[in-house]
């Protein structure tokens, strides 16, 4: 497989053609939610992502109530990598506890700094379809495309109040490729 084919895996092309979660949906009345607008200034890709916070995933299982990621919706324009990444993350985090979604984001940022080598089997199992972006991590100029949606997700979770933005660590690669938020443009 050429490195081009490694980058544009079929699963990425499929998601880019029929993305999941596209089309911003208003949050339900009274539902906690967060929103983020992210831009890659070098290429003009942008996304507005909205996330609704569900409740009580833990409570259903008899444990303490824990906020979950409810409906994820977004509107954006960009290359197939950025659009496919948004689609894949929508599938991956919807319905998960917020802490798990944040953890997946960190694993994905790790994958993006793997320079094409990928992660161990356990991490790849966690990431599912998102593992298809391993090839993208060989192209420093394109890593930011794959990270755009994840930056928007993280920022949305922080603005919703469900995630504390001050304590969670980010990997160096994510910081380097981190898209600007509207506030600091």
């Amino acid at each position: 497989m050429s490195s081009l084919e490694q980058m544009y895996q079929q699963v990425i092309l499929d998601h880019a053609r029929s993305p999941h979660g596209r089309g911003l949906v208003e949050a339900a009345d009274g539902a906690a939610h967060g929103q983020s607008h992210q831009v890659n200034p070098t290429c003009g890709d942008e996304v507005t992502l909205r996330v609704e916070i569900g409740g009580a995933a833990g409570a259903e299982a008899g444990g303490p109530a824990e906020p979950t990621v409810g409906r994820v919706s977004w509107e954006g324009q960009g290359c197939s990598i950025s659009q496919a990444s948004l689609s894949v993350l929508t599938d991956l985090v919807t319905g998960r506890p917020v802490t798990e979604a944040e953890h997946l984001g960190e694993v994905f940022r790790e994958l993006m700094s793997s320079r094409g080598k990928g992660l161990d089997d356990a991490a790849e199992d966690e990431l599912g379809d998102a593992t298809a972006f391993t090839g993208v991590s060989q192209y420093p100029a394109r890593i930011k495309c794959a990270l755009l949606g994840w930056a928007a997700l993280r920022d949305s979770l922080v603005t919703s109040g469900a995630l504390d933005g001050t304590t969670t660590d980010q990997t160096g690669a994510a910081r380097a490729a981190h898209a600007t938020t509207e506030e600091n443009r």
Partner: protein, 209 residues
């Protein structure tokens, strides 16, 4: 206005007051350029920065400055870049700007033929006489960055994005374009190879509409 392609201009004949240009737009190194100015205008201007090699006489009460161009060349000069810039200028002079212009004109016409590929649209004038050898285009259904990636994989470098012209892209209703440019070292065969790879881009992304 910065221009990215070389053609001969007679600045005094055009009555130009000032012209600034960058070496890297004319086969030279980065980080160096030149300012052309009419002598009487340069002589009327104060220094931009002060430093070594630009003063005449310094007292506690005041200073006088060297005549232009030294007045504007304070401090340690970028010696290597300036020497490289000179070599680039001599090289272009030996090629002859008429020949350079003719070559670029021919390649501009070849580059514009990307508009014949189904799904490829050229942005801007389609008449080669109104162009230099820099052609921006969009591929319907494929984002410019994806177009650039496929070309890159075939060893063809284009620039993708908004090319420091976001309002213009908004004017044309496109988020980003890919831009191919040709220079003195670009051949017709290069452009043929470029068009051939470009023609396969939509198939690679399974866009046939």
């Amino acid at each position: 206005m910065p221009v990215g392609a070389a053609r001969a201009v007679d600045l005094p004949a055009l009555g130009v007051d000032f012209a600034a240009f960058s070496a890297h737009k004319m086969l030279g190194p980065t980080g160096v350029g030149a300012l052309y100015g009419r002598r009487e205008l340069l002589e009327a201007l104060p220094p931009v920065t002060t430093g070594g090699s630009m003063i005449e006489l310094v007292t506690m009460a005041g200073s006088t400055y060297m005549a232009p161009p030294q007045r504007f060349e304070a401090g340690t000069p970028a010696v290597a870049q300036v020497v490289g810039f000179g070599a680039a200028a001599r090289y272009l002079h030996e090629l002859g700007m008429e020949a350079v212009g003719a070559h670029e004109h021919e390649l501009a016409a070849e580059l514009l033929r990307v508009g014949e590929i189904p799904g490829v649209r050229v942005v801007g004038p389609r008449d080669p006489r109104e162009r230099i050898a820099v052609v921006s285009f969009v591929v319907d259904g494929v984002h410019a960055h994806d177009v650039g990636q496929v070309l890159d994989d075939a060893g063809i470098a284009v620039r993708v994005g908004h090319h420091c012209a976001q309002p213009l892209h908004r004017r044309f209703g496109v988020a980003a374009t890919a831009r191919a440019s040709a220079s003195v070292y670009t051949t017709r065969e290069d452009v043929d190879a470029f068009r051939e790879v470009l023609a396969g881009v939509r198939a690679f992304f399974s866009v046939d509409r």
